[in-house]
Symmetry: D2
Subunit: 137 residues, 4 copies
């Protein structure tokens, strides 16, 4: 059990579906790490000028996933469902755009390949989270 699942399970307003939420939170922070790292790796490449769009999207995606992760860590059954759905939807859009941009460079740069995969995993886990939220309790 990861630390974040232990935290959700010991929360006084315990959420059902701790696994889905915990996985989504971990995916968001993993995406923050890979996007921040990918931006920096791109900065170190010889033809950095061809990667400027990728760097910018990496930084935007890291910013969004930081917000999503932090908001999910405060999610509870009394929470603002519509707000959380809006944030997850926006997060999915940024992660998809970043994955698409990184994929264009994936054959050339391993860091873009790893980053695209982390972004798509975040998309999957945010979609699973949305589905869970929409299920009848």
């Amino acid at each position: 059990m990861t630390a974040v699942r232990a935290m959700i399970r010991s929360h006084p307003e315990k959420l059902s579906h701790a696994d889905v939420i915990g996985r989504c939170i971990d995916a968001c922070y993993a995406c923050v790490e890979t996007c921040t790292a990918c931006a920096d790796a791109c900065l170190g490449e010889t033809r950095v000028e061809s990667l400027v769009g990728c760097i910018r999207l990496n930084l935007d995606c890291a910013a969004i996933c930081t917000a999503t992760g932090s908001i999910l860590l405060r999610a509870n059954k009394l929470g603002h469902r519509q707000l959380l759905e809006a944030q997850l939807t926006t997060c999915i859009a940024y992660c998809r755009a970043c994955a698409a941009e990184c994929s264009r460079h994936a054959a050339m740069h391993t860091h873009c390949d790893v980053c695209a995969k982390a972004c798509m995993e975040c998309v999957e886990d945010c979609l699973a989270m949305l589905n869970t939220m929409r299920m009848p309790a």
Copy 2:
């Protein structure tokens, strides 16, 4: 002229409407400051248990506005218009919710009153930004 407007004007891919964007960026960071401060002031109140929902929304709103401000600082004419619109729309929703919650405590706590106003100013400036983006160039 604030520093952020000077930054936008000296950007090599200069944006038109530097004033609208600069104002929106400043409003986002002002909202980060007041929401973070309001969460802490609520923590110091005698009846903190009645302010838990307010603290949580303050922290969520600060997280969203941090992301919005940072993304706007990377906005340029080549940028991802639909992504930015999604983020601004989500930001407006969180700021409105936080303003509504803070307003409920505004008569009792000046910090909630100041925070509600900063949130509503951020809403206004994000709406102005959306309008500017939708105008024909």
Copy 3:
């Protein structure tokens, strides 16, 4: 191999000691997650007024570890060694203080126990990182 280690290994200015650095980055973000979650769990406890100091330190520690993680993801052999040492040292101080505060509540609240452990793991990994930086290349 975690994603972050794959990122460090595929960085064009590859660092030696990818394992030590990767572990430290992961520990920082794990600490961000547990501290943010612990602050929220404390807010949900019946006697929240006794946990205000813990919540504040949780939020401070999450803020510092976010900065440390992000800076480490940009660390490279050409980097600013003294600045990074200063940040790691400050991070260790905040994590120790947060672990000490959480430990005071660990018998009563499992989330404080889990959080104290995550903070101390971050301390260990930041110390290992400092040691690695001080070794002759």
Copy 4:
């Protein structure tokens, strides 16, 4: 009176020296804005490869100042004085390094000139804050 000073004045554990603290918080967030904007403006320059070191330091400095601003917004008279001193000292070191790097490009790029000045203002206000903290109450 800026919003942040109104927030400090309405905090239930009111701090003396609201002006010094408020100014330091505003300087930190202004530095976050200019450093984030400077990193992006550098990315848009023709010879971006000559500005990679500047971009990295901009991003590091923005990360540190985000943490410092957020911690200062939670500062109160019962707080952890030594921790805050450590963070302010680290923040000063990063702001000075970023100002020095930006100054090297200031003749060529106005955004680096504006950013160097915002970093040095943040240094001044963090030093004033440290002095205030060390004064007998």
